[in-house]
Amino acid sequence: MVDWEAFQPAALTVMLGGYALGGVVPAILGILWRNRTKPGGSLTGAVKNIGFGLALAAALAGCLLSLSILISGTPLHMEFLPTAHVGMMGFHADTLSALFIGAISLLGAAAACFSLGYAAEFLLRRSMVLLVVLYNFFVLSMIGVLIADHALLFLFFWECMSLTTYFLITFEHEEHAARRAGFLYIVMTHIGTAFLLVMFLLLYSTAGSFAFEAFRMEGARLPASTQSVVFLCATIGFGIKAGIIPFHIWLPEAHPAAPSNVSAMMSGVMIKTGIYGMVRVFFDFLGPVIPGWWGVLILTIAVTSSVLGVLYALMEHDLKRLLAFHSIENIGIILMGVGAALLFASWGNRPLAVIALIAGLYHVLNHAIFKGLLFLGAGSVLHAAHTRNIEDLGGLIKRMPWTAFFFLIGAIAISGLPPLNGFISEWLTFQALLLGFHIPDLTVKIVIPLTVALLALTGALAAACFVKAFGITFLGLPRSGHADRAGESSFTMLAAMGFLALLCIFLGIAPGPIVSVLNPLASSLLEEASTGQIVMHAGTVLIPRSASASISPAALTGLLVVIAAIPLAGISIFVLKSRSRIAPTWACGLERIDPRMQYTATGFSKPLRIIFSDIFRATHEVGISEEPSPYFRPTITYELKTESVFLKYLYEPVFRSIVSAARIIRRIQTGRIQTYLAYIFVTLILLLLFAR
């Protein structure tokens, strides 16, 4: 028997220490040897290796910590007293925290390893010290958010996380897009924090303490109206961070702007801290007795986010923006699980809620891994081809075969196709929703089938989008010189992606360990005594409640491979051996196929753009140059714009009205001293009249 009591604090210390050192040591180096750590300086490489090396070590420790908590089920608890006036604070890592720590650490390990190679790009251009310091403190604050057991501590880490990411987003601040993204991000996240602060204060007003323990005890006893306000505040506050629609506007701007290793962490795990917060507040603090409309609201948000997220992704040709929109989509899918769990719990059907919650949490882990993988892949592409615009890419599968392979794994996983991990969590979500149809309520009966249908739509659209993303980026002929000259990434980068790809496969084929860990976790969150809502039997996921709906991804994979092998063997032995020949692609009778004859990403997404034209409101402009003669036109430009409904009809009007209100109020500062004196006069008179 392992001594968890001794091991866990040690692992925690190593993890936190690793990140902290990874932040502090480069900072000290940077201050001591300012010149040698400048871009191009002799120490920059060392700074990079120290910083990301420590991050890697810390991430590995984090994996161990997470595993130990998840397996043993014993939470890690630590307390300390920072100052008298705020009282005792503590760290508390229960299985829920451990799950998220696990996601961070797995992806963190990969991202750190990836960065060792990837960050070399910045050696000559950018302050490596800054990157490393920010990166490590970013991850550290994420961990802090997950283990904080006190509202002040939580907000502290929460805001540190926002702060570090802000500087990471604006890391390449010469780009206007990065500055804009940073601004949008920091403003949105700050508004979110304001809601969170209100939420904690409301909880505090009843619990009388900011310790999460007190929230846990008293949260369920709040008056119903307060509970609902807390719920709404949490939904908005955490939702902004998670990137739910309509609070998503920052996300597609911010994630692409950051360096790719950071985008991977942001998209893969940072937005999950929003999910963590929601689960923590909804189930741990407020739950499990909750009003029915919560679940409906969350499901509505979930469906909107997932469908619109993927639709917007389809219109994107910037690889990283595209991935960012998919994050919105996947947050939607996660929230489908969470929302369904809320809905079922409100009807008192906790075992069912457990299934839904497991589905959501499983997808958290999955999304962290495949989205991380995809962002790292996008980073590799960017690194090699110096562009994120897929219209300029193509043919990379031959130039960077391993990257292409790993990206393909990620693409299959995110599209929810068997036998990879995305499929399992979507399958569980479907199961939970199907079972929930038996709840005798009209709203539920309408909401659930629609959710199911739209989840199916989401999955299909995601597949379409990744056919586009992978196909246009990696297949065919290179569409630009950059793409043509691209080369394979360095070993550390490939290793990182390979690790994540393996995880995608592992989590897809062997869901057993995860489910067996998630089931007690979800049961305890919902205060459901029994576990075993999802049973693992010989590699098969079984849901006993649903007349034994089951799936065995391992067997499925086995069958797929074996059955594919039969014709493969047959064809390669009997047919192909001598009679295969290479020929150019048919080019409609032209001499040679040209990259420009290929389908473009814009063209690829056109059918969907037309089908969903009400959502996209696309406008295009065709520019035909009249030079040198109207009969011979060397260049034709085609520019396509899709309109962001939320920006146009929600944010811009709000922004405009705030500005015009501010303009009106600003008139009080007239510049005329007589007016100012009149203010004093009037204030005095008013006080004398009313405040005597």
Binding site: K445, L455, V467, G471, S550, A564, I582, A583, T585, G603
Partner: protein
């Protein structure tokens, strides 16, 4: 037990795979008859496959390894699906491996690779096909899921064998209006999924209209054979799904030879019957413009939704 499983395994594979070209042949023959042609023999698809198997494989110089592995992925996923769908016997021995959702997603897996290959060879037609295929698949999916949802909800499980079982024990519910509506929804969906008129024309190679064919334009020889065969299998699977999920009459519940014989007979009858209906629809309808297809699928979606609402009201 192991032998039974192995036997049933082979039985199912052989039944579906071997039958698939025949069903396609029957549909072609029927369509020819409708067009007052004599048409090729119903066995023509078999001849085609054999012929293709013997041909050279011509590979584009642009193509990557994906080009080589896709036919196997597609074929293999179709065959695996055929193992999960009850055809003659219920429960299927491998029903625990995957349910109806797995089936739908396995279809998607095959389609995903196929669409990728469309882009692999840098051909303009490939991209066109992939784009259309994925677009239409996207809007098919919700309707299909809803139609299946009705069946699954009735049975309380997504396990195909369970669905079939439940329905065979209460045959009256087969004529339930919600059930019939769901069937209608699934029928429309099946036409779209299997690339039949009015959504796609399996016989055309005109770039304005083709969808499925455009993706596989660069394929030849045994690869093409595998892909063609896979799509024939896909058609049979859909017919089987429609037949057995909604009208599981005559299905064998044991592995006794007599039951199997009855089951196989019933299955053949149902599949061929449905194939004839498909042929009828194909012959009496024109292919829709691409952007009219969503309207058709919205109809399917509404049908499925109606069936659910009816299920809720009538409470089958």
């Amino acid at each position: 037990m192991a032998t039974i499983i192995l036997l049933s395994f082979l039985f199912q594979i052989i039944l579906v795979i071997a039958l698939a070209p025949l069903v396609t042949g029957i549909i072609r023959k029927t369509k020819a008859r409708f067009q007052h042609r004599r048409g090729a023999t119903v066995l023509q698809p078999y001849y085609d496959l054999v012929k293709l198997m013997r041909k050279d494989v011509v590979v584009s110089s642009v193509a990557s390894w994906l080009f080589h592995c896709t036919p196997f992925v597609v074929f293999s996923s179709m065959v695996v699906i055929s193992l999960l769908v009850p055809t003659v016997v219920t429960p299927v021995p491998l029903h625990w491996v995957g349910d109806i959702i797995a089936v739908i997603y396995l279809f998607a897996l095959g389609r995903f690779f196929m669409a990728l290959v469309g882009l692999d060879t840098a051909s303009a037609f490939g991209g066109l096909g992939s784009s259309r295929e994925m677009s239409i698949a996207s809007i098919v999916e919700p309707a299909m899921m809803l139609a299946i949802f009705t069946a699954a909800v009735t049975a309380g499980s997504t396990d195909l064998s369970v669905i079939v079982d439940r329905l065979s024990t209460t045959p009256a519910s087969m004529l339930n209006p919600s059930h019939l509506l769901a069937f209608a929804g699934l029928f429309v969906v099946s036409l779209a999924e299997t690339g039949r008129i009015p959504v796609d024309n399996p016989a055309t190679h005109l770039e304005l209209t083709m969808i499925h064919e455009a993706m596989i334009l660069e394929y030849s020889g045994p690869y093409l054979a595998l892909i063609e065969w896979a799509s024939q299998v896909k058609l049979v699977i859909f017919l089987a799904l429609m037949a057995n999920m909604f009208f599981p009459l005559g299905m064998a519940t044991t592995w006794s030879p007599s039951a199997l014989a009855v089951g196989a007979g019933a299955f053949l009858l149902k599949v061929i019957g449905l194939a004839l209906i498909v042929a009828l629809v194909e012959s009496t309808n024109a292919k829709l413009r691409l952007f009219r297809v969503p309207e058709l699928l919205v109809v399917a979606f509404i049908l499925s939704l109606l069936s659910l609402i009816l299920y809720f009201i009538v409470g089958a």
